[in-house]
């Protein structure tokens, strides 16, 4: 591929992000506007922004790569990513908005009236955030190496630099506009090339649909058994609702009902988006199985337009896809850095502006260090493990906190620590043993770590029933009762 294409695409995305951010900044200038904005952001904008933040490197590159590698087994990933939002809608969207909490530690502290719970939750959130940023940076390394021929470390460093500059300078304050723009950019970046690819393939073979995927498995991966699929689905379904950068976006909804409506639109946007990586993976199995053999499956989305279309048009389409990929790295990373910086600055630096900037730097630089020391596994797979970790730690405390009156601070801490230690050890063991030697119960731990975390939380809470906070009734009422009397609808 022409190396200029990659560099130009990255520069264009950075510039466009800055311009949209600046424009949004002008729209919401004062603090007053900022608060009012939380009431005037339309569900469509908000939903696009949530989609923009959620669709990460794993969705943009990883899903197609994994489909190329393991076929229909990998189709469970996009299904799980989307269905996770259904669970979020069913169990947490409206109550979390009504809690008025801005971060997950804010929520657990308010619900359980305990600063110890807050500190444990903060720690878990920071670990989740860091683990989630690492695959984004691996994706950036891959994209830079494939598209420009520059050394791989340039990609993560560039992404972290752009994110740090925008967050520290305050340019991401109009984050809703930027993220909403990123969603539509990502959708376009996959949709336009696939139209051309289908036209070219259709013209070449004389049929409109691509040939059936080959039955042969282009990789050496064994097909997933029922345990692996169920465990993966547990991780994805219950991991989504605990992701730290998702909750902040719900705060911009005016009330619980609009939080539900927004989530409904998000589900639509995600459903439309995930048809595209699925199509890339499917076509890739027909025309580019060699990528799986050479261990470059995650680059499929980046390389397919150039391969199939070719020439000048191919270069332009490749530039579009590369731009979409960088939009994915930038939007997810900046969303995570902003929410992590909020947590770290409040807990460590007392919430000052200088503290926020310092916290933002820490939030971005630590994962950069981790990413430079680790090898990229399959992107979708490593993000799947982060979901398993979230599902074993934050998910139980959110679900039980919202729906069960008996939860105590001791139970919450015991459950989060148990889930975190079990799932964390499984992840470490898995990376030490290597993909081939890891038994499936360690490779996909969610099916047992999530129930264990729930059980520990419930049992310890039962044993410490005297510690149910006195504020519980008031908080539960606040979480579940609608905000406004129904004057307008009657």
């Amino acid at each position: 591929m022409n190396p200029v294409v990659g560099v130009a695409a990255f520069a264009a995305v950075t510039l466009a992000t800055a311009v949209v951010g600046f424009y949004g900044l002008k729209v919401s200038r004062t603090t007053g506007d900022f608060y009012v904005a939380s009431r005037t952001v339309k569900p469509w904008w908000n939903a696009s922004a949530i989609g923009g933040e959620y669709l990460s490197a794993a969705s943009f590159l990883g899903v197609a790569g994994l489909i190329l590698l393991s076929g229909t087994d990998a189709l469970w990933y996009p299904v799980g990513y989307t269905a996770g939002y259904l669970m979020l809608l069913l169990f947490v969207a409206a109550p979390l908005r009504r809690s008025g909490a801005y971060t997950i530690p804010d929520f657990t502290e308010a619900r359980l009236d305990s600063s110890a719970v807050r500190r444990v939750t903060s720690l878990v959130v920071v670990v989740v955030g860091w683990l989630y940023i690492v695959p984004q940076l691996h994706g950036a390394a891959l994209a830079i190496r494939i598209t420009t021929g520059l050394p791989a470390w340039v990609g993560p460093v560039a992404v972290v630099a752009v994110v740090c500059i925008t967050v520290v300078a305050g340019g991401m304050r109009s984050v809703t506009f930027v993220q909403a723009f990123q969603y539509w950019l990502k959708l376009t970046a996959l949709a336009v090339p696939i139209v051309f690819i289908l036209l070219v393939l259709g013209g070449a073979t004389g049929t409109t649909a691509p040939a059936a995927p080959p039955a042969v498995n282009p990789s050496a991966l064994a097909p997933a058994g029922p345990y692996q699929i169920i465990s993966l689905l547990v991780a994805l379904l219950f991991g989504t609702l605990g992701l730290p950068h998702v909750l902040v976006r719900f705060y911009t909804n005016p009330d619980g009902q609009s939080a539900r409506r927004t989530t409904l639109i998000v589900l639509g946007l995600l459903s439309v988006f995930y048809l595209l990586p699925t199509a890339y993976g499917m076509i890739g199995r027909v025309v580019a199985p060699d990528l799986a053999e050479s261990g470059q499956a995650d680059a499929l989305v980046l390389l397919l337009p150039g391969r199939v279309v070719g020439g000048m048009a191919g270069d332009l389409l490749s530039a579009l896809v590369v731009a979409g990929a960088f939009a994915a790295f930038l939007s997810t990373t900046s969303g995570l850095v902003v929410s992590l910086a909020g947590v770290i600055s409040q807990d460590v630096f007392g919430g000052s502006v200088r503290g926020f900037r310092l916290a933002a730097l820490i939030s971005a630089l630590v994962p950069l260090g981790i990413a430079s020391m680790t090898e990229s596994m399959a992107l979708a797979g490593s993000v799947g493990l982060v979901f398993a970790f979230t599902a074993s730690t934050i998910c139980p405390v959110l679900l039980l906190g919202i729906w069960w009156r008996g939860l105590t601070d001791a139970g919450a801490i015991a459950g989060m620590v148990t889930g975190g230690v079990f799932c964390g050890s499984a992840m470490v063991a898995g990376s030490v043993l290597g993909a081939a030697a890891t038994p499936s119960w360690l490779a996909q731990p969610a099916a047992w770590t999530v129930p264990v975390a729930f059980a520990v939380m419930v049992l310890v809470s039962r044993a410490t029933q005297g510690r149910v906070p006195r504020t519980m009734t008031r908080v539960m009422t606040r979480l579940h009762t609608p905000e406004r009397p129904l004057a307008t609808e009657r």
Partner: protein, 124 residues
């Protein structure tokens, strides 16, 4: 005009949305204080939880039925729709309408549960 960085919500002040002389805050207080109010709140929480569980279980059953169907009905996995293999169409595209429909049903019914609660608690 000064610009202030916002990293946390302002103190949880009651929103004074006045409608017919009765504010949302007052309604909430009434619900928190009285036994009858708590009864309504508990029944609202129960019906919302039951609704969420029913929708979740229904969706999971349909999800589970997809691979079972492919495994148990002979020849289904090898058949094609418009030139595309059936199992790919089912898993790659067919599940999304089910997700959307479940979500839509839930949002509608949850809003209805809340309207019923408002009627009970507000007209007291």
């Amino acid at each position: 005009m000064t610009r202030v960085r916002v990293t946390a919500p302002r103190s949880l002040r009651p929103t004074a949305v006045l409608t017919g002389g009765r504010s949302a805050a007052a309604l909430r207080e009434a619900a928190e204080e009285s036994d009858a109010g708590q009864l309504f709140v508990r029944s609202l929480i129960r019906s919302q939880l039951r609704l969420a569980l029913v929708v979740a279980l229904g969706f999971l059953l349909i999800l589970l039925a997809f691979p079972l169907m492919l495994g148990l009905v002979p020849g289904l996995a090898d058949s094609t729709i418009a030139g595309l293999p059936f199992d790919w169409v089912l898993l790659g595209a067919g599940i999304y309408p089910v997700i959307g429909l479940s979500a839509w049903l839930y949002v509608r019914t949850a809003a209805r549960n809340e309207a019923r609660y408002r009627d009970l608690a507000g007209d007291k």
